[in-house]
């Protein structure tokens, strides 16, 4: 890695990437705390460790590109511009939540941000991503669809159907696989015949590549290039980002299937301090600025928690709304 950061992005964007990763980490850790306190219930899948993917990839997209994801998606919504207060309120089940408390952790959605939803059915987003891309192409829009999913999702039939369909109809879908090596407790080589997920597109004539998902700049550059390719050719492309989740699958998973040495090794590759080091090393930011970033993020998240706590519950009537138009 010898390319200088400044040759890739201007300082303020680099700082912005750092800010986003820190905000996401703070947000997720606050979620864990609120879960322990009982303010958040249900399944809670945290993203800590994977921030470079959400931040780097999203930064490489256009504002009106569609983004669609699975259930580990708080950071993906937040880096897209979702208000952390409303995301936290959603997790609390409050009326001020991004989905009025009706969606919950796994179902964030904001059409204004072109964030087309978190889905809790593994692989459920593939067909929908294909449809979003069809609509974009049908209307001759410039936008593409960035479809995020995990290593476990590639064995669903929908993955295959989606790849074939997107290539056949020449649809602008950028598949971003966050390979964190586990689907709950099952390691990728125990669920996939070919654990090199990017190689799975060979049967569909879809280009693909693997990228270091712990390096925000590597993700940014790969996605930038791929997104432009998809936009230009109106054809799918797949990026496999190698990453790791620092916590269990969800808050109820103690994660015993991973050796602590393995986890520790990956924590040394934490995308946040490593990026901080580069920012410092290349003189893009000084320590005071980085400290400030963390304080600001912490304050923003504290404010989000407060907002969620103080927000009202939905009215009982809300239960019957939105079933039909």
């Amino acid at each position: 890695m010898d390319t200088k950061l400044r040759s890739i992005l201007p300082d303020h964007e680099l700082i912005r990437l750092y800010e986003q990763m820190v905000l996401c980490r703070e947000f997720e850790e606050a979620c864990a705390e609120q879960y322990t306190k009982g303010n958040i219930t249900g399944f809670l899948h945290l993203y800590s460790g994977q921030e470079a993917v959400a931040a780097g990839a999203t930064h490489a997209l256009h504002g009106d590109d569609y983004v669609i994801s699975a259930y580990r998606e708080h950071p993906q919504a937040i880096v897209r511009g979702a208000d952390p207060r409303r995301v936290m309120a959603e997790l609390f089940g409050k009326a001020t939540g991004i989905c009025k408390g009706k969606g919950g952790s796994m179902h964030l959605f904001d059409p204004n941000l072109h964030f087309m939803g978190g889905y809790a059915i593994v692989g459920g987003q593939f067909p929908i991503a294909t449809g979003l891309a069809f609509a974009a192409r049908y209307r001759r829009e410039e936008r593409i669809v960035a479809c995020f999913f995990g290593d476990g999702a590639v064995n669903q039939g929908t993955f295959h159907e989606g790849l074939n369909w997107a290539r056949l109809w020449e649809l602008p879908v950028l598949y971003v696989c966050e390979n964190n090596f586990y689907g709950i407790g099952t390691e990728v080589h125990r669920s996939s015949a070919l654990a090199d997920i990017h190689k799975r597109t060979c049967g569909y004539d879809i280009p693909s590549e693997r990228v270091d998902g712990m390096d925000v700049m590597a993700v940014y550059q790969a996605v930038k290039h791929a997104a432009e390719w998809v936009r230009e050719h109106s054809r799918p492309y797949l990026i496999e980002a190698i990453t790791y989740r620092f916590r269990g699958h969800s808050m109820s998973d103690p994660g015993k299937y991973r050796a602590s040495a393995e986890v520790e090794l990956w924590k040394e590759r934490d995308p946040i301090p490593n990026f901080a080091k580069r920012l410092l090393g290349e003189g893009i930011a000084g320590q005071p600025l980085l400290d400030k970033v963390r304080e600001t993020a912490a304050a923003q998240v504290a404010e989000a928690v407060k907002f969620a706590e103080e927000s009202p519950w939905p009215d009982d009537d809300e239960v019957f709304n939105d079933v039909y138009v």
């Binding site: 929908i128 369909w165 056949l168 109809w169």
Partner: protein, 328 residues
């Protein structure tokens, strides 16, 4: 009013709506070049071109899911499942996604989409190709379900389905495609969802039916008339929304009711209809509601056996006589 087949009425509805609104697009297995395996999409590719009329791979879950995504992005897709049996491959997109997306995202999006699916038994297609799955779709909130019985209803309801802002399962009956009837020419002829159609008035007994069962019920009513029994035939037209008022009022009036369903009897929609009648006419009913249903078996191939599994005019006649004879 011109006479036309149920098939042509559907075809006309598709064409009219596609002419009216460029956001209406359609896809499915063999709907374009082959013009549909039941030829409902005849002429669509020629008129609207391959941007709007598309053949798909054999990937039913994705056929539905692509419609979900496209609808979310503002199109008005009409996806065809070659037959409703294949909806079982798409239940994930239908029930887990299509029916819930508006709700779980708190109304921030909606899905103006239609899934067309022919179904029903009676053509000796065997167990995997002869199902009547309407109850599955009626059970799940968030979906509208249309079940036209006549060419006019087929046209008016399909147009309503395409204009509906909600996802619609539009269930056509394979044995009705060749049936004929008068169909209004007016391109604004749209039949609102959630209104039963009293297809025949009567005073002795109410027969509640839908799709092809309505056709059989009307035939049964004609036969019964000869024997002096006056049947009121209520055609549900849409299962969701369900217009219970109309059949409840009718049953309260006649005091006797028969529900005809092609699906399996156990937990079939007939039980729901019957329950609504009991709940609302408890003190007015003169006999228990009779359910005339598909037998609780997978469909056998042999024509001799198949006939036993599907309600026939004769079984409806017998059921009506049974409720007429019960005295309480």
């Amino acid at each position: 009013m011109p006479e036309m087949t149920y098939r042509d009425a559907l075809n006309l509805a598709l064409k009219e709506e596609m002419r009216r609104d460029p956001m209406v697009v359609t896809w499915g297995e063999d709907v374009a070049l082959y013009e549909g395996s039941f030829k409902v999409t005849r002429g669509l590719l020629a008129e609207f071109g391959e941007k709007r009329v598309l053949d798909t791979p054999i990937s039913e879950n994705t056929i539905v899911g692509v419609a979900v995504g496209a609808a979310m992005a503002g199109l008005r897709p009409v996806a065809e499942l070659m037959t409703v049996n294949f909806a079982l491959l798409a239940m994930d997109q239908i029930i887990n996604h299509m029916s819930k997306i508006r709700y779980m995202f708190a109304g921030q999006t909606h899905l103006p989409m239609v899934i067309r699916a022919p179904g029903g038994g009676g053509s000796q297609l065997g167990a995997q190709h002869s199902q009547s799955l309407e109850t599955f779709f009626m059970h799940a909130p968030g979906i509208h379900v249309a079940v036209p019985a006549t060419p006019a209803d087929a046209k008016g309801l399909l147009k309503a389905a395409i204009r509906d802002e909600n996802p619609v399962m539009f269930l056509e009956h394979e044995l009705l495609y060749n049936s004929k009837g008068e169909v209004p020419e007016d391109p604004e002829f749209v039949i609102p969802f959630g209104k039963c159609d009293v297809k025949r008035e009567g005073k002795d007994v109410t027969i509640v039916a839908y799709s092809r069962m309505t056709v059989l019920a009307l035939q049964a009513a004609s036969e019964l008339e000869k024997e002096g029994i006056s049947c009121e035939v209520v055609d549900l037209r849409t299962l969701s929304p369900l217009d219970a008022d109309t059949f409840v009022v009718s049953a309260a009036k006649t005091g006797r009711a028969v529900v005809v369903e092609e699906c399996w009897r156990t937990c079939g929609l007939g039980a729901e209809i019957a329950s609504r009648i009991y709940e609302n006419c408890f003190d007015k009913l003169l006999a228990p509601v009779e359910r005339v249903s598909g037998l609780n078996v997978p469909m056998p191939y042999s024509r001799k056996l198949e006939k036993l599994c599907i309600p026939q005019v004769g079984t409806i006649v017998a059921a009506v006589k049974k409720v007429m004879n019960e005295k309480y």
